[in-house]
Subunit: 203 residues, 2 copies
């Protein structure tokens, strides 16, 4: 089982942005769409052993969390292109507009949930069942890490994690690196998935 968590500090927490200008109007929801693509999709296939948490902290109503549960999602729900994925995020944000209770998750579509969970809530829930890794260029080379059956990876968005977030992760997440350069989150997830596939047994 693989979990990917991304903290998106600018991603809008209301569906108030334009589908035809995601980079300019949404706080980089386009980046989250490519992240989901890399986490779940194979050529003509879908990874059911993946969970994704989008942790949104942009205006106007942070935090919002959207969970994608591969085991329960219908494979045809998620398509490769950005716009159809952005529409799923919009659907979740609209459904979650009046959420107040911090712990409650609303199921928007099979396997897709919206909530007011914080980044810390997500990480704590994840720690119960998975070994946690923070993907960072200064981490241990991924080829040298021995992964257990259940793994979870935290990534930052285009601005990276804040010092507070990094302090929170210190001690509970091992820093792991796919290389010395700073890569786009979607490229890192594609690399991690393909690397994990090569292990015996793959997580």
């Amino acid at each position: 089982m693989r979990t990917f968590i991304i903290k998106a500090n600018r991603a809008h927490t209301k569906a108030d942005f334009s589908l035809t200008d995601l980079p300019g109007t949404s706080g980089r929801i386009d980046l989250l769409c490519r992240f989901l693509n890399s986490a779940f999709l194979l050529s003509h296939g879908f990874r059911k052993n993946v969970r994704v948490w989008l942790s949104l902290y942009g205006p106007p109503n942070p935090p919002k969390a959207i969970r994608f549960e591969g085991q329960r999602m219908r494979p045809k729900t998620l398509n490769p292109d950005e716009l159809s994925t952005a529409k799923l995020i919009i659907k979740a944000l609209k459904a979650g507009e009046n959420l107040r209770e911090p712990g409650k998750e609303l199921e928007v579509l099979p396997g897709i949930y919206v909530s007011k969970l914080t980044f810390e809530d997500i990480v704590r829930r994840t720690l119960r069942g998975s070994a946690l890794y923070y993907l960072h260029e200064e981490g241990k080379p991924i080829e040298k890490v021995h992964f257990p059956a259940n793994v979870a990876f935290v990534l930052g968005d285009h601005e990276g994690l804040s010092r507070e977030d990094e302090a929170f992760l210190a001690g509970i997440a091992e820093k792991v690196s796919v290389g010395k350069k700073s890569y786009l989150a979607s490229h890192v997830v594609a690399y991690v998935n393909i690397h994990l596939d090569s292990l015996t047994p793959p997580p």
Copy 2:
């Protein structure tokens, strides 16, 4: 120097498709946009040592070839999101609408060229300066390949290469694999780029 060549059998060769429904109307130009993203982009950076050839064979006027030359492109030309990249492809297709001469390339923007070059033309030109590899799940594991300074990779689109294309490549391109599964072209390119970065010296 790294070259990535994709043969897109259905990709429209005229700008007759809808930006808001690329998967449904363009013969999967959306896939080519993600391919370019993976080939060129770093987090807040651009790979100048990359060349991409899109070899388009869809209706109504195949073939069309679009070349992206990292060395000459302005880094801000290519952005991560699909729609802005699709607009570059549209610009190239419009500029190339009346092209007749098979060998002539038109420069559409700095470092971006459109032509009537065939897939075979592109491969033959590439062979002059680079070792050629065909990315295929049954190839030699990429970790075991010794790459020279100039490398070129051929990939198929969501339908893969035809038997004729594979027959053409046999003997001139070594089959290389990033894993046993069938991955999306954009994920393969992200993986190859990150893998090549780890070599000393990197191609």
